[in-house]
């Protein structure tokens, strides 16, 4: 099966922005705002951090210490690029595979693990208090972004809502309703489609006959652009520009082309439905090595840098895991604690039943 071919750079009217080729060589000048060691090293570090965290989460799941988990392996550039492009004051509305963006914005690894362990407290982020939690029903976060963006507009704030969606999400009505509404009201919202070519077992060709996902913007009368989602420089730049546009009242759709190198979640076995050869080929394009090659070529990254980073990231991840494993469980009655602002008296008896351990 090779149903994703036409999703390569094919469409001349919908060019793909890219700075680094697969091997990490620059194809054009890097945008000057990003063209310094510190900026690029930070993006690199964040991708390594995301991948390391991700691998740890999968292994925690395999050993029974985490629930079902959705890995972002291979898609770190999309997520980190988005995180880096956003202002802290913007609001993120992620799907369920956007750990890189969440981490960049200050959600802690411990919180993410806590959430995927099946504990609501993991969504009570100490960091970005206004960011939305992970959205499980596909595309259902899109209309929330409309509301958040409208709130910014009503208050006259120069902020944007950034909503991440999968390629599968572009089949759902709420996606279209939302981009269309943003067009009507000139809302400060950016929708990034993380086109990782698969929705569980369905390749993009099963989702749409459109040659690109960016062109779906045409239906809404808003701008749509494509970016190489494995080139973090390009993502950071294109999403940054999209956010600026959005904050000026021009909503944007960005299609980021990447690839889901891992299983859909830890509950999935992708070998049932896709060829290993396809996956191996895609490993040649993955974003982490690509940026490292570039950094190394520019003499901005040494073996010592790499070792120090790995050490630091491992330490951070291990610390987070330790903290996660040490978290005290929620008492059962906590399931009533945030049902309403104030628990109605009529529910007190049910809560008591739980507290008595009779539940």
């Amino acid at each position: 099966m090779n149903a994703v071919d036409r999703f390569e750079e094919g469409s001349p009217s919908w060019p793909v922005t890219r700075y680094l080729d697969k091997g990490g060589s620059a194809l054009q000048d890097i945008p000057s705002a990003l063209d310094d060691r510190q900026t690029l090293a930070a993006l690199y570090a964040a991708m390594v951090r995301t991948r390391t965290f991700d691998q740890k989460a999968v292994s925690l799941q395999r050993t029974g210490r985490l629930g079902t988990y959705a890995s972002s392996l291979g898609q770190e550039a999309v997520s980190v690029g988005i995180g880096a492009a956003m202002d802290p004051a913007d609001v993120l509305l992620p799907a369920f595979r956007d750990h890189g963006a969440m981490l960049w914005r200050g959600v802690t690894m411990t919180e993410i693990l806590q959430y995927w362990s099946g504990d609501e407290r993991g969504c009570d982020y100490a960091g970005p208090r206004e960011d939305f939690p992970v959205a499980i029903p596909v595309a259902s976060q899109a209309p929330h972004a409309v509301g958040v963006a409208m709130a910014f507009q009503l208050r006259g704030e120069k902020r944007a809502a950034l909503c991440i969606l999968g390629d599968g999400a572009t089949s759902k009505g709420d996606f279209y309703e939302s981009i269309n509404a943003c067009g009507v009201w000139n809302l400060p919202a950016v929708f990034v489609i993380n086109n990782n070519r698969w929705a569980i077992s369905e390749p993009v060709a099963m989702q749409t006959a459109a040659e690109t996902l960016a062109q779906k913007a045409v239906a809404a009368g808003i701008a749509g652009v494509r970016v190489d989602g494995n080139d973090v420089v390009a993502v950071r730049h294109v999403v940054g520009r999209a956010l600026e546009e959005a904050r000026s009242g021009r909503p944007q759709l960005v299609e980021a082309l990447t690839y889901r190198l891992g299983d859909h979640t830890t509950a999935d076995d992708a070998r049932r439905y896709r060829d290993d050869a396809e996956v191996s080929a895609r490993w040649q394009e993955e974003p982490v090595l690509r940026l490292r090659n570039y950094l190394v070529a520019r003499d901005w990254w040494s073996k010592a840098d790499e070792e120090a980073l790995i050490r630091q990231v491992r330490e951070d991840v291990d610390g987070a895991v330790e903290a996660y494993l040490a978290l005290p469980p929620q008492p059962p009655a906590a399931m009533f604690d945030h049902l309403y602002a104030v628990l109605p008296p009529s529910l007190a008896a049910q809560r008591a039943l739980l507290e008595d351990g009779d539940g």
């Binding site: 982020y125 029903p137 509301g147 709130a151 709420d174 269309n180 602002a341 009529s346």
Partner: protein
């Protein structure tokens, strides 16, 4: 003090709420210049402008989902769904998000939204304009489900709903929109949520109902009174969370209960109330509980609407049989 209809009371409450709280927004289809197809938002666009009174694209899922985003950002959106038959595309957002956002984030984000919609038969409108699926909402944890039965109750309950920090499904019986006028002071006084209202006292029989059926039920109580049967009439008003005490207390005194609703019988909210009686008032019950409800068939098109609707006769008959039961 003005004599107003129920729909005018709704408009009055909306205006009041927008006046006193700049975070209150009104949105929906045709709520702006048209003032809503029932005129529930009449005059609001001129008073508060298009930023706060917003005609939306024709998409109920979008409307509900936007409210979640606005609510999380501290606004208090009051959305109108044009008819209850068109609320289904919004259900995903209501059930999976609005009702859960506070819980999911352990209180970090919340969703102080109100979704208003006309419900029920009585205006001989085409298909899908006559739904009564309140029990679907009443099943969903995290929601409030409120149904006013008089103009003053509509005013007070709607203000309470808008001020409430959690999502409220506010169901307005179309049949009552212009049925009566009542003096309602625009004094900003909210009515109590989460409680039943006793509309009529009586010691022989308890009639439990809500929304539009309160009218037929009160009429039935009058008819029963002529037969010497004094019925207590309870307007449930807030279906969720349910104030069962008022109902249990009344049935504890009367020992007899008829529940009246327009929605289809099976898995209608009357079942929940009858169940509470079977659980908690069994020993008080001197007669089987009766439900007088819509039939378990599709609400017919207007020609047979009246035949579908539980009429006064059926309520009276059920009340009489319940009281006579030995």
């Amino acid at each position: 003090m003005a004599e107003v209809t129920l729909v005018e009371a709704v408009a009055m409450a909306l205006g009041r709420a927008m006046d006193e709280d700049p975070t209150v927004l009104v949105l929906g289809e045709d709520v702006g210049r048209d003032g809503g197809v029932f005129r529930a938002t009449e005059g609001l666009l001129d008073r508060f402008g298009p930023a706060r009174v917003r005609d939306t694209p024709l998409a109920e899922g979008l409307i509900a989902g936007m409210c979640v985003g606005l609510g999380a950002q501290g606004f208090r959106p009051v959305a109108e769904i044009q008819f209850m038959g068109f609320v289904y595309p919004a259900l995903d957002q209501i059930v999976n998000h609005a009702s859960r956002l506070r819980n999911r984030t352990r209180g970090r984000l919340s969703c102080p939204m109100v979704m208003r919609m006309p419900m029920g038969t009585g205006i001989k409108a085409p298909e899908h304009h006559s739904e009564s699926v309140e029990s679907m909402f009443a099943h969903i944890p995290g929601l409030r489900v409120v149904i006013p039965s008089t103009p003053s109750r509509a005013y007070g309950l709607l203000l309470a709903a808008i001020r409430d920090p959690d999502p409220v499904i506010f169901l307005e019986p179309t049949r009552l929109y212009r049925a009566v006028r009542e003096e309602v002071a625009d004094d900003g006084a909210a009515a109590e949520l989460d409680c039943c209202y006793v509309m009529r006292e009586g010691s022989d029989l308890t009639l439990v109902t809500w929304g539009a059926m309160t009218r037929e039920t009160l009429a039935a109580a009058d008819a029963l009174a002529e037969e010497g049967i004094e019925a207590e009439v309870i307007d449930v008003a807030t279906l969720k969370p349910l104030d069962e005490e008022t109902i249990l207390d009344s049935v504890g005194r009367t020992g007899r209960c008829v529940i009246v609703h327009e929605a289809a019988l099976t898995a209608g909210f009357g079942g929940e109330i009858a169940a509470r009686l079977a659980e908690k008032a069994l020993l008080s019950l001197a007669a089987p509980v009766r439900r007088v409800a819509g039939f378990d068939t599709v609400m017919p098109l207007p020609r047979l609407e009246d035949a579908y609707l539980p009429g006064i006769d059926r309520i009276v008959a059920a009340g009489r049989e319940t009281v006579r039961f030995q």
